[in-house]
């Protein structure tokens, strides 16, 4: 029997993997993928809570669809930025992108 806890555990594992990747990957595209992973971990959470706690209303599912839409937009913008950076510097290694330093 798969319970809510199993879903939450899966979601937590996914989130941690995503977070680890986002903080440690050197390639900007990989970081974007990792962020997608974290968003999807959240989506699992939302759907799982709805399924187990309030199955009669579909709040979680609808919310998950919103998140997917936002994620799609975000990826579009993010990839555009990555491409712009690549054109400028011929590199997408984030370690070298320290322009925020004063």
């Amino acid at each position: 029997m798969i319970t809510l806890n199993h879903y939450l555990l899966l979601s937590a594992i996914l989130f941690c993997i995503g977070l680890y990747g986002a903080l440690s990957k050197r390639n900007a595209v990989a970081i974007l993928i990792c962020i997608e992973l974290m968003l999807n971990a959240v989506n699992i959470n939302l759907v799982a809570f709805t399924k187990f706690l309030t199955p009669e209303v579909l709040t979680g599912q609808i919310f998950a669809i919103f998140v997917i839409v936002v994620a799609a937009c975000e990826v579009a913008v993010g990839l555009a930025i990555v491409i712009a950076i690549y054109r400028d510097r011929s590199s997408v290694v984030v370690e070298n992108l320290d322009w925020l330093k004063w």
Partner: protein, 628 residues
């Protein structure tokens, strides 16, 4: 309306010298004689108009102290502040106008001779004209504000004239001293008139008089009276702000005669007379005025007996006589104070002009280097003796009548101590004046000099003033009907009964003073040196003017500069220290804090996440621990 040219054109009285000043300064500076003539001509106009005013007041009895004629134009009208420029004409103004224009005219004529050949000849006359303008503006003022403005202007002209020989260091020091001392006093005066304005809402003398007579706030009136009195303390050289007047003798001698003896220094006394109702409303203020005046009279006389410089002796004598006038006002007699002011103006101007004549001829000022000048300068010498007799109070000379009246009112109003002070001062006055005369004009020559009588431009003013010093006192002598007292008074005219005893005793006192001077300096029956040596500490104390200057110097050096050094230290190390340490803190935090900004996106992300974890743990703490 009274028809009188003087009254109709009163605005011309101060304006004529102003025009002369402007013309000389901007146009005639290079033409010496033209400058002098312009100034003298302007004085003739002012003098003639003043004479006409005096004549009108004497013949037409509609203008009295209680019903003055006032003419004014609004000068400044701002929200809640209304200031007039105007003229207040009563016998007091008229008398003062006469004295100022008369002495000024004579001094200007005298200066033509005295300043002959001086490179600053035109400048001298332009300053004199500026001074006369300011002084006349002060005299006719119908409100305190106008008076204050002109009060400052006479201070300025006095500054310019004391420092006339500005290339001499002593003159530059002296005019600075005069200006600063007067500023100190003027500040008190200014606060006085400001609080009067705040309380009564007007500067006008007549309106203020109305307000004061219906006010019963005695504490306020005392405060205002004493504050206003600080002005005369400075300008009329009362103790303890007298220090500038002896040093003011650095100016040319005609200036000393006009400004620092006859007119400007009398402005303080005039102010006391003009604002008399304010002082009269408070017994405390009057007592302060009376005793300060009496003390100054004695104090300055004690210094005068030891001085060696011709002009300085006269300067201390001026201080002493001003003390008399202030005391007269203080004991409640405006009449006696103003009467003495008038006669003093004649004989003191006379003596200063004599001093100028002697200095002009000898180029010496130390009386111990003179001696026997009388033989060579008969006119000057005679005039000086007349002046001396007048100031000593020998009847029938001018000083006798006025000084006697002061003694009389002091005695009549029950100020016995002041009466004694004044009598002692009278003795000292006779002594130091004749010490000066005997040493300078009689006896044997004590140094090599070539004297000659001065030109007529100098001797004629001397003779005119000598005549006034002899007969000037009759205007207020007790046996004269409708004399000075029936015109210049406060409230009701008051004719003190002549006191034969008092007259006799004061004449005796004066004669005793002269006799003592004769014994010491002509007969040499008593040796001055021996007495000086015997009482060396007292002699030195008096010779050094009671060490007042040194006291001020000490006060400035030790207290003021010490305090400044302390405050400087506080500013440098405490105030600046706080500001500097705040700046240092900011800089250091910035320098250390910049290492946090790596610029690496992922580091920032890690920090944000760690912070979220910490916050969540913190918020969830109670739930996880089961505490709820």
């Amino acid at each position: 309306m009274i028809e009188s040219i003087g009254l109709n054109y009163i605005w011309l009285v101060p304006l004529a010298p102003l025009v002369a000043f402007i013309l000389i300064t901007f146009l005639f500076k290079r033409f010496k004689m033209l400058s002098a003539l312009t100034a003298i001509f302007s004085m003739v106009i002012s003098f003639w108009l003043s004479l006409d005013i005096v004549k009108t007041i004497l013949t037409d009895h509609s203008i009295t102290m209680n019903s003055p004629l006032e003419k004014a134009v609004p000068w400044l009208n701002m929200n809640g502040l209304f200031i007039e420029m105007g003229a207040l004409i009563d016998p007091l103004t008229a008398g003062m106008l006469f004295v100022v224009t008369f002495i000024s005219l004579l001094v200007m004529v005298y200066s033509v001779g005295y300043m002959h050949g001086d490179p600053g000849f035109s400048r001298f006359f332009s300053y004199l004209a500026l001074f006369v303008f300011s002084m006349l503006g002060l005299v006719i003022a119908n409100n305190y504000f106008q008076m204050f403005v002109f009060w400052e202007l006479v201070g300025l002209s006095s500054y310019l004239l004391i420092g006339f020989y500005f290339y001499k260091d002593s003159a530059a020091q002296a005019n600075k001293k005069a200006f600063i001392t007067n500023r100190v006093a003027d500040f008190g005066f200014m606060i006085g008139i400001i609080i009067l304005y705040l309380y009564f809402g007007t500067f006008n003398f007549a309106e203020l008089a109305k307000g004061i007579s219906s006010s019963s706030d005695l504490a306020f009136l005392t405060l205002a009276g004493i504050l206003v009195f600080i002005g005369p303390i400075g300008k009329s050289g009362q103790f303890p702000l007298h220090v500038w007047l002896p040093d003011a003798m650095e100016g040319p001698t005609p200036v000393s005669a006009l400004i620092h003896a006859a007119t400007m220094v009398a402005a303080g006394v005039y102010l006391l007379a003009r604002g008399f109702i304010l002082f009269a409303s408070s017994t405390t203020a009057m007592t302060v005025v009376a005793y300060l005046g009496g003390w100054t009279a004695l104090f300055a006389a004690t210094i005068a007996i030891t001085q060696r410089d011709f002009k300085r002796i006269l300067a201390f004598s001026t201080l002493s006589q001003l003390g008399y006038m202030v005391m007269a006002i203080g004991v409640g007699s405006l009449t006696a104070g103003m009467f003495h002011l008038t006669t003093h103006a004649f004989f003191k101007a006379l003596m200063f002009l004599c001093a100028g004549s002697v200095i002009h001829a000898l180029h010496k000022q130390d009386i111990f280097e003179m001696g026997g000048v009388f033989k060579e300068m008969k006119i000057t010498g005679t005039c000086m003796v007349i002046g001396g007799l007048a100031i000593a109070g020998i009847p029938p000379f001018a000083g006798f009548w006025s000084k006697d009246e002061i003694l009389l009112v002091a005695k009549e109003n029950g100020y016995t101590l002041l009466y004694v002070l004044a009598a002692v001062t009278a003795f000292l006055t006779a002594f130091y004046m004749f010490r000066l005369i005997f040493l300078a004009f009689f006896g044997e020559k004590r140094s090599d000099y070539h004297a000659h009588e001065s030109p007529w431009t100098m001797t004629v003013p001397l003779m005119i003033l000598a005549v006034f010093s002899i007969f000037g006192g009759f205007i207020g002598a007790p046996f004269v009907e409708h004399g000075f007292a029936s015109y210049v008074y406060f409230g009701e005219p008051h004719h003190p009964k002549p006191d034969i005893m008092l007259m006799g005793s004061s004449t005796l006192i004066a004669l005793a003073g002269i006799f003592l001077a004769w014994l010491v300096y002509i007969k040499k029956a008593i040796s001055a040196e021996k007495i000086a040596n015997q009482f060396a500490p007292i002699y030195k104390f008096l010779y050094n003017k009671w060490y007042i200057d040194e006291l001020y110097q000490w006060f400035f050096d030790k207290i003021v500069l010490g305090l400044s050094a302390l405050l400087n230290w506080c500013d440098r190390y405490i105030v600046d220290g706080i500001a500097h340490s705040i700046a240092w803190m900011t800089r250091t935090i910035g320098a250390k804090g910049r290492y946090v900004h790596t610029g690496s996106l992922q580091t920032y992300g890690l920090v944000i996440f760690a912070a979220v974890v910490v916050i969540v743990l913190f918020l969830a703490g109670p739930v996880v621990g089961g505490v709820q």
